[in-house]
Symmetry: C2
Subunit: 414 residues, 2 copies
């Protein structure tokens, strides 16, 4: 067999202004060069415990259970839903974008009876309407996206958690796009299971999904617990009374046994990703959550000012705009993907398209985590202006970057 040759890994310089995966702080990348520790090495389990504590702080919760699922964000979402949704359960999913439909699809694959409610994309629900539907439908589970990156909207939660408690429903929230970028209050909002992603505002490479759940959710999860036959030393199985969770890999009952002091063996923890997540969470807590939210608002203001100065229109209802992504209407007649390809090829600037009905209609400019920086915003706006000029769009040349600079001068922030 001839030995094939592949080149050394080498990548071009990029300015990533998408809603994820975003750039990663060099401190996180350096942490990833740390040598492997065994998963039951006391030094490693200490790092796991620290990571749990930091996840708890970032989610603003006193929950005992807080751990990363080893997979991308949707692994965490699927783990959360698989844990609490039993076949035949009624699940209410208010949908205001693509990721709402993802919750629907996961629940359908779990053989739940899924009830949806919809609003037009680009808007969100009056939270009273969701609370009303919860009271009326009395679902076992309410699954809701907090920040919908496909449309760039954030859903207010007032009263929804209370409504869930009124009817005994569990409130499961996808906070993938929002955690560590905009306010998210697990306990104050009475969220029973919350899931985040690594590669968005936490600014860690994709591959871990922090999850936390409270005692209400754990009552169901514990009831569905099963101990693997190959791990049982005695006849005592420790099995719960409820139907088992359908996944082994994404089984929050087994994962919490593994993350508990019992350290019951499950999968092999993804060592290097844990190093990365720990460093990313440290950076968030060192900066301070409130300070981080403020930083994201500042860069949002600069992007919005720049986009408007280019004469472009923002998509969607401004009253519910998600801070960390700006959706921009593509001027009629312009090939949005060709513009994006040119931006990437000539300037190394990456912005995103969107999905389904919005594909070709909007661009999405993300400012998340380490990518939410003056460097990125100024370079991105300048490159976008030059690209639009190249494509023959009439723009007031020079204005966008100045508009952003004005925002920074007012905000006097890096």
């Amino acid at each position: 067999m001839t030995k094939p040759r592949y080149a050394d890994l080498s990548v071009g310089k990029r300015t990533i202004l998408t809603p994820g995966p975003v750039e990663v702080d060099p401190r996180v990348l350096r942490a990833m060069t740390t040598p492997i520790l065994g998963q039951f090495d006391p030094e490693f389990t200490a790092l796991m415990n620290q990571t749990s504590a930091m996840i708890r702080d970032v989610f603003r919760t006193k929950n005992e259970r807080a751990l990363p699922v080893d997979g991308s964000s949707r692994a965490g979402i699927e783990a959360a839903l698989t844990a609490v949704v039993r076949p035949g359960d009624r699940v209410l999913v208010p949908v205001f974008g693509r990721f709402g439909w993802l919750l629907v699809e996961i629940c359908q694959r779990l053989d739940a009876v899924v009830e949806t409610m919809e609003v037009e994309w680009g808007t969100v629900f009056d939270p009273a309407a969701i609370a009303h539907a919860v009271h009326h439908k009395k679902p076992a589970v309410v699954a809701l996206v907090h920040g919908e990156t496909s449309t760039g909207r954030v859903q207010p939660f007032d009263g929804i958690g209370d409504a869930c408690r009124d009817v005994g429903a569990l409130f499961v929230v996808d906070a993938v796009a929002t955690l560590a970028g905009v306010p998210f209050e697990t306990d104050a909002w009475k969220v029973d299971v919350a899931v985040a992603g690594a590669q968005k505002c936490l600014s860690v490479p994709a591959g871990m999904a922090p999850v936390t759940w409270n005692d209400r959710a754990d009552a169901v999860i514990r009831g569905r617990r099963r101990v693997e036959k190959g791990l049982r030393a005695s006849g005592d199985s420790g099995d719960g009374d409820l139907p088992p969770i359908r996944s082994n890999y994404l089984d929050l009952a087994q994962l919490s046994d593994y993350w508990s002091p019992a350290r019951l063996n499950h999968h092999t923890e993804t060592t290097t990703m844990l190093y990365a997540l720990r460093e990313g969470l440290r950076l968030v807590l060192e900066e301070g959550l409130e300070e981080r939210w403020t930083r994201h608002r500042l860069h949002e203001a600069a992007v919005v000012a720049g986009v408007k100065a280019l004469g472009l229109a923002l998509y969607g209802d401004p009253s519910c705009k998600l801070t960390v992504v700006a959706c921009v209407t593509i001027p009629p007649g312009l090939d949005g993907d060709a513009v994006r390809a040119y931006l990437l090829d000539r300037f190394g600037v990456e912005i995103a398209s969107s999905f389904g009905p919005l594909k070709g209609k909007i661009w999405r400019i993300g400012t998340m985590g380490y990518s939410a920086s003056r460097f990125n915003v100024l370079h991105g706006l300048g490159a976008l202006e030059a690209t639009l000029i190249h494509f023959g769009v009439k723009v007031p040349a020079g204005r966008a970057v100045q508009a952003a600079l004005d925002v920074y001068a007012e905000g006097s922030h890096d």
Copy 2:
């Protein structure tokens, strides 16, 4: 809110001699510091394609489909079984250790009708007995572990793939412990779906599970394909005729759409883990698969010689010993976990215990990938000898390391 402080990441020096997670080549760790690329960046999709090609080479297959599932090994195993096992399907699982029971458990959670056959732990099946059972039971799927690290055995496959084709069964194999450490021949052995792990003989941090499958398996998987509602631009759903796959995250139909030239959006690829896997596969192919198998046999011989020279007994049937792990019977009266803790604390040497009925009965010494080195074996044997002396075990002092040195002198290999 006060800002909590956690220390800089810093870990002790380790010599890892377990069956995973094992040490990682510094080249792989360095690759992980490469900045993030967007998942649809042409530079990134080129890296994905190269990684596919290398997975194919390492699995010795011409299969079109070869990709990593983003999770630990069992994520790959669950993805494989979830893709091909439909509720009510008859699945035959021959069990010769803990990881056989894991296959059983995953299939049971999929509501399959699982038939098991068992041999005593420490032995394997006569492959003719498995082929006979396949002919007799006519299952839809046969799920089999190739290398069982819990007992340190490797299962011969002669005739099993043929028997599966005779009855129309799909042959799904867990090659987590064996790929890139001992011969594994996907095509020659007529394996329909094969799954490996990153953190064993590939010597990459845990977090990716390479999977490959052929057209026979794909006929089922394509039939179960569903396109997410949030991604559909038109009325055409592209849905297959068979019942959908129960998982969204671990859905091989969606994953292969994502890895195909269509690049249909699914989860966010775990960028940095992909860099790591690509570099790990490059290292395997640069070394050469046959050369790598030879290297693993050499270090096995040194460990076995050293263990015997210490007067310790090897556990299990020697005719089916798995090259990459040596199972050692713990001398009666000795606290195996106390010995392991001392080894780790004083010498930084990690060896493993085992599971279920073997817990406390055997130690497992792994020599996999980058951990399969003269440095590790000599240091590990010396530390084990010193620890046994400390615990009052009578050992012929000085002999173990000399026995290993003799093996290396004969093998004249690093």
